[in-house]
Symmetry: C2
């Protein structure tokens, strides 16, 4: 099942169920009319959503509307907690090698994770704000999950049960501001922008064997200005999402509606390309002695899509234009 | 004017206006019935709140109820963004000296700040959860502010206009988990627990000259198990809240309902004591060669209060008991 939020003028949007072929949608009415409400009361709401989904798919949904023309927000337009991992070891290794950094201690034992701002996620076609070109604006193609409540001290297996929806996202990062913030040890505040999401949040059962061990075993395809930039696979995540969630739940309960991110998808084999500019620049620095590829500037476009085995976009598509500067 | 949220079974609580003598309160009805809604629409709601406040104070409020017996939540029980500073340089200096750390570069030029979890603030009398004594559970007495919208690129003066309410809080910290997380550069996730708030959020005009330069010029009085622990003043904040907010707004707009914290209140003069255990342990380490004072354990109590010049508790009182372990 695919869920999405369409713009109805309110910050949380209107929850809709999307048909399997993504041509039709149906609004969810009443108290479960937002994604946040739906995650907070998942067990009760799920049968309602499934009924709508079945009706949409067999053509009996009387309130069906065409998807074409709808303005999609992020599936969950804002949340009280957004925790983003950095779970692809290849990304960290490249950064350390390029910038001659000490390896992060125990990065293979404890998932790297930062607390992000969940107050204003953006939609799949929203512009990427370029407030200042000196900030080094970059994209980061990621997978993510939305959870229900997770009790403190949950095991990874228990955490797995709380993963209700999988999402695809673009974590906007200001590379010029990150090194100073990392050196403080306090993490990213200025260095992270408005995170954009592909339109559809998808239940794990839709993935078949492409969802296993808390990982998405599919490639994320990135183009920049229409040219191929990378197609790394989610398989190389060093920790599964369930392990990331259990890590965060060590000292506090996780509330329904929390979003967890994978970090930029990154593979060891060079032909996979990359899902962020910083990683390509690191490779250039290592091989050619200096970075060649510039960060984003006004008017550039970024496209991200993850296709299933039938070549259909699983989460819809992210298609953003950079504006400003 | 003082505002608070009382428990009505919902996560956001019921907004109430508190009388000047804090004996009476009045529920705010309709769409402004939560603190979040009130901050999102401050200009329209403010006159309504002021009318209620006047009626409460001159004894003409027909819907007045006694404050005694009400269960207070945090004034804003949850928020989409919680940004906590570390703005008292003395705290950083002591930590660096005690643990032989390199000074944080440019800490006097850029405010130190981390992104916290705003999903579950706790009330003034809620227990401090001790999940694992090895985590080194500590309190941090702080001041904070609640804001309305702040546009990206706002100056400190513009940011000052967005400060609508001042709060007092206890930022629960797990000292045993912080060093590993700081070393990653990604900031605190496991190392921060559930932040507790004194019951009343107070408009800046209530402070007279005790609110100036974006700082609270009053002492925060801390006792542990009934014994004096510290009474440092908010005056020594190296940056004002308006500067902290402008720093955060450099690369993204700040949404109404964002909470900013001062970091643990800390003064250079030893007789001020301290607002967290870690700082006392650092002093002991410097002077006596090793820390003497243990972190919190089951059954201990922490009390925090800030009194105005008439010796009245400005924000009410934080009075928490540690439970678990």
């Amino acid at each position: 099942m695919k869920l999405a939020s369409i713009d109805n003028g309110s910050p949380d949007g209107q929850l809709v169920v999307i048909s399997k072929d993504t041509s039709q949608m149906c609004r969810v009415h009443g108290s479960a009319g937002t994604m946040a409400a739906c995650l907070a009361d998942w067990q009760s709401v799920l049968p309602v959503l499934q009924d709508i989904s079945s009706a949409l798919n067999n053509g009996t949904c009387e309130q069906a509307e065409p998807v074409a023309g709808a303005r999609f927000l992020a599936p969950l337009p804002r949340t009280y907690q957004w925790l983003d991992g950095s779970l692809f070891m290849n990304h960290g290794h490249l950064m350390q090698k390029a910038f001659n950094l000490d390896p992060i201690e125990d990065a293979d034992k404890y998932p790297l994770i930062y607390q992000g701002a969940g107050d204003a996620f953006t939609g799949c076609n929203d512009t990427i704000a370029l407030y200042n070109p000196a900030h080094g604006v970059d994209f980061e193609g990621e997978f993510g999950v939305l959870t229900t409540d997770v009790p403190v001290g949950a095991t990874p297996d228990e955490a797995m049960q709380a993963i209700k929806l999988v999402v695809q996202l673009n974590d906007i990062s200001y590379r010029g501001l990150a090194p100073r913030e990392m050196k403080t040890g306090f993490g990213f505040v200025q260095a992270k922008g408005e995170t954009a999401f592909a339109p559809f949040a998808v239940t794990p059962d839709e993935f078949g064997d492409s969802w296993a061990d808390g990982r998405i075993h599919l490639t994320l395809n990135i183009t920049r200005n229409g040219e191929w930039f990378g197609s790394p696979s989610g398989s190389e995540m060093h920790f599964g999402f369930h392990e990331l969630i259990a890590h965060a739940a060590t000292t506090r309960p996780i509330k329904a509606g929390t979003v967890f991110g994978s970090g930029t998808v990154s593979n060891a084999k060079p032909e996979a390309g990359q899902a962020c500019i910083a990683e390509l620049r690191a490779k250039e620095l290592i091989i050619q002695g200096k970075p060649q590829t510039p960060f984003l500037s006004d008017g550039e476009t970024v496209h991200m899509v993850c296709r299933d085995k039938q070549d259909q976009p699983l989460f819809g598509e992210i298609n953003q234009t950079v504006k400003g500067g």
